[in-house]
Subunit: 140 residues, 2 copies
């Protein structure tokens, strides 16, 4: 059953991790788990990886070439009646200036891990324009 807009927003807001899909140069989906903070219709995400590890920056190269991304937040249980997922579509961009500072504040607030070791690389904002949530049963 389709989840309500309120339920979808709450589940995304509370999630600690999601999967980010970007589009590789050859058109294949590239997937990576990522941490994020939600504010209104935007997900903010840091890149806490060394800039020299070129392989790991592929998601950024992908986003610069094609900003269309898909995000999955999901919850699995062996009791499938209690499983749910949310799929978001949006446009991603590397951000700087005031927007970067705002995103960083949200990330540090949500993840204590970032307080000791804040992301030093680029920050990405995903402006979500399509929200879809699904569960087998009504969520309590």
């Amino acid at each position: 059953m389709r989840l309500s807009a309120d339920a979808v927003r709450r589940l995304v807001s509370e999630a600690r991790v999601a999967t980010l899909a970007t589009i590789d140069p050859d058109g294949r989906p590239n997937l990576v788990p990522f941490c994020f903070a939600l504010d209104a219709d935007t997900l903010y995400s840091g890149v806490d990886e060394k800039p020299k590890a070129t392989k790991r920056l592929r998601r950024l190269e992908n986003v610069k070439r094609d900003p269309r991304v898909t995000v999955l937040v999901d919850h699995y249980e062996d009791d499938w009646e209690r499983a749910w997922w949310v799929r978001l579509r949006g446009q991603a961009a590397v951000i700087d200036g005031a927007r970067r500072r705002h995103g960083m504040e949200l990330l540090v607030e949500k993840y204590p891990q970032y307080r000791e070791d804040p992301p030093t690389g680029d920050l990405v904002a995903i402006d979500v324009d399509d929200w879809l949530g699904w569960s087998s049963s009504p969520l309590e």
Copy 2:
């Protein structure tokens, strides 16, 4: 750090759920969580959904048009040193005959849920040709 081939295979084999990325007609990634059974280099997955729900068959339409898929198996912990992920790339196809029966046996063996309610729709096989696993720290 990159995980060994043995570790990657073990983690995928033990996982209960993964994320499947297919390619929508407009080139965007489509994401959905899915259950699967691994045998050698193939993931088998059922579609336990009603055939009339056309929306939910999009992954099958996508695979028939472009068989290239990406799969993410990941494990999150707030202790990020203990998080890991595995990304697989491969070719997906709807299967029938002996191959379908084999996949069904594996799925029913892995998921007790399927014993009572086996998947009635198409079965998909993903032949994996690229395995990549990553963790912050060595896995015990």
